[in-house]
């Protein structure tokens, strides 16, 4: 039995002459948070789309629970329990919490022509699920637009889990959030992992990734700089690897230069 829920081995993706991804390997265990870090343009978006079935890889293989799989569409990935929560969250702010929670997968009651959307049951489940993560939805028929950014993120994650996700791919879940909200979301992600989900957390924020991650894969210009367990990697080293290190050193030198010139 394979200890990994999902493995992406030597994934490459080309767009014409552009090499968007080259030989990227990533593995996620049950209950593990695997952070995928990379600066803008490192290929994160392409990798997410490949993982979630939007693009099919040109090279490499995807192994889900020991079996080799091919994703032709996001539906295929979803059916295997690989759910992606995109940055836009796929929430409609004018619609209620319940209607968002069950969007596209509404529970029904009754027969054939008179089959109706079971609003009461849906309301109850939505409120219950949101309550479990500490968000008190007094009125599940309130519009999502009234919720804070962190609550929306939690709603989207909670929805993915409710509908049977085994692996969660989270695209920049904390990028638009304040400090407090971000910590609420991160706490929830840890909780989800502790219940046995595999989580791929995509971010460019080392300070959000380091405290919650178990392992870290760093992406730079379409290539993986390797995967490291937390114990083998200090926060500083991780920061350095994220293309930041070299560039920031350079910037510092340049700033000193400017300082020197202007002080003359």
């Amino acid at each position: 039995m394979n200890e990994y829920i999902v493995e992406f081995n030597n994934i490459s993706k080309f767009f014409g002459s552009v090499i968007a991804l080259k030989d990227v390997t990533m593995k996620v265990k049950k209950g593990e948070i695997m952070c995928l870090l990379g600066d803008n343009g490192a290929g994160k978006s392409t990798l997410i789309k490949t993982l979630s079935g939007v693009h099919s890889p040109d090279e490499g293989e995807i192994i889900v629970e020991g079996d080799k799989k091919i994703f032709d569409s996001p539906r295929d990935a979803l059916d295997l329990g690989i759910a992606t929560v995109y940055q836009d969250l796929a929430l409609v702010s004018l619609m209620s919490v319940t209607r968002n929670f069950f969007m596209g997968r509404e529970p029904t009651k009754g027969f054939s022509l008179f089959r109706t959307f079971d609003v009461d049951k849906a309301n109850q489940i939505a409120a219950e699920r949101m309550g479990q993560i500490g968000i008190d939805v007094r009125d599940p028929s309130q519009a999502v637009g009234t919720m804070s950014g962190g609550e929306r993120q939690c709603l989207a994650i909670s929805r993915a889990i409710y509908f049977g996700a085994k692996v969660l791919i989270l695209d920049e879940p904390t990028s638009a959030l304040g400090v407090h909200q971000a910590s609420v979301v991160l706490k929830y992600i840890v909780k989800a992992a502790s219940q046995g989900l595999g989580v791929i957390l995509i971010t460019h924020n080392v300070h959000h990734a380091y405290p919650v991650g178990n392992s870290f894969t760093v992406l730079n210009r379409g290539k993986s700089l390797g995967t490291y367990a937390k114990k083998d990697l200090s926060r500083e080293r991780l920061l350095g690897m994220m293309a930041g290190g070299e560039e920031l050193d350079k910037l510092e030198v340049e700033l000193k230069e400017i300082d020197r010139i202007s002080s003359n």
Binding site: P74, R75, L78, Y86, D88, L89, A90, L91, V92, S93, L94, M95, R99, F102, M103, G104, R105, E106, T108, R115, T116, F117, V119, D136, R138, D139, A143, G145, T146, M147, S148
Partner: protein, 372 residues
């Protein structure tokens, strides 16, 4: 019990939450504006024209019938608008459906009921074409259906003149009287009740002793029925949830598995079918088809939907609101004849009403989506 009882729940409540009054919940409903507007309109005409016969049985049926005709297309337009699209071809479709009924029935000798089915089949095709073009090309429905507006109106005129040599097709009366299904669209309901009320002297009579208002026209029953069905679909079915989702956030809805394309195409078929229903009601009531029938009705339907609380950007609105929007429209357009006001002013009123409604809707949307 002198001391104020302390609720046990109070401590566990989030200090950031406050109780929202019932009034506020009602204020957030999309149909509120149209409901309030209808009440104002009735109060206004009650004072100005209360003793003129506007609110007699005959007068009431009159303005309700105008409201009902518009309401039939406004409800379909509202559902489409909630789904995030417009249909500007509704008015032209009314004219086109009219000749699709009249020409086969009179010139080709089809039984009337087959001509009616034929018109509805054409409507499905037109709606499907509109929807498919919008979904496949990603062009704004405004442009696609504007093109369809001209195509259908032009085809109506050209085909009618080609086949009949004129622009009107009269002479359906005999066919209607002998048709097994025409009554569904044109007969009056509750005629017995109206005759009884007339015999009691409660409603006005003609000289021959029959009541002036003979019954409730079928269009009014269609209007009420469609409002109920549309509201049920929107609020109580999965498909209804998909309509809101498709209009609220097309991409998000698609990512989560809502068949957005199918939803939009079906809503376009809905507006074309509603236009055909409108045409049936008119053609079978008057006994003739006219190529210019339905002119500008698409805009009136949009006004009614917007006054009824639909957002132009989609994802929000109600069928009940659109029905009330149509009621305001019908009441004012008929009521103005009972006042001393020159009827030329009706369009001014219409424009102002639409402006006020849009401003009000914008305010409601802010209330709903912002954390206030």
């Amino acid at each position: 019990m002198s001391a104020k009882p302390q609720s046990i729940d109070e401590k566990s409540e989030d200090e950031r939450l406050r109780k929202v009054s019932k009034l506020k919940v009602i204020l957030n409903r999309p149909e509120l504006g149209a409901l309030g507007g209808s009440i104002l309109v009735f109060i206004f005409f009650g004072i100005i024209a209360g003793d003129t016969g506007m609110f007699s049985a005959y007068g009431t049926i009159n303005f309700l019938e105008v409201s009902a005709n518009l309401g039939i297309i406004a409800i379909a337009a509202a559902m489409l608008m909630i789904g995030g699209e417009f249909d500007l071809s509704v008015g032209s479709m009314i004219g086109f459906a009219g000749i699709c009924i009249a020409i086969p029935a009179i010139y080709w000798g089809w039984p009337l009921w087959t001509a009616i089915i034929f018109a509805f089949a054409i409507a499905v095709l037109v709606g499907y074409a509109n929807g498919l073009l919008v979904v496949r090309t990603g062009l704004p429905s405004f442009i696609v259906t504007l093109a369809m507006l001209f195509i259908l109106r032009g085809a109506t005129l050209a085909l009618t003149r080609l086949i009949t040599g004129r622009t009107q097709v009269p002479g359906l009366r005999v066919l209607i009287d002998n048709d097994p299904v025409a009554w569904i669209f044109s007969a009056d309901a509750f005629t017995g009740l109206f005759a009884w009320l007339g015999s009691l002297g409660l409603i006005a009579l003609r000289q021959d002793g029959t009541p002036l208002a003979t019954g409730i026209p079928a269009s009014i029953l269609w209007w009420v029925g469609l409002t109920i069905i549309a509201t049920w679909i929107l609020m109580k079915t999965r498909y209804g949830n998909w309509i809101f989702a498709s209009g609220g956030d097309k991409l998000g809805a698609r990512n989560i598995g809502v068949p957005v394309g199918m939803v939009k195409i079906s809503l376009f078929i809905g507006t074309a079918m509603a236009a055909t229903l409108y045409a049936c009601v008119q053609v079978l009531d008057v006994g003739s088809a006219d190529t210019m029938r339905g002119f500008l009705k698409e805009l009136e339907a949009i006004v009614a939907a917007v006054v009824g609380g639909c957002l132009l950007t989609g994802g929000y609105g109600s069928a009940i609101g659109a029905a009330f929007g149509a009621l305001i429209f019908g009441t004012v357009s008929m009521g103005i004849y009972y006042t001393d006001v020159d009827t030329d002013w009706f369009k001014v009123f219409l424009g102002l009403m639409m402006l006020i409604a849009v401003i009000f809707n914008n305010f409601v949307r802010k209330r709903v989506t912002e954390n206030k």
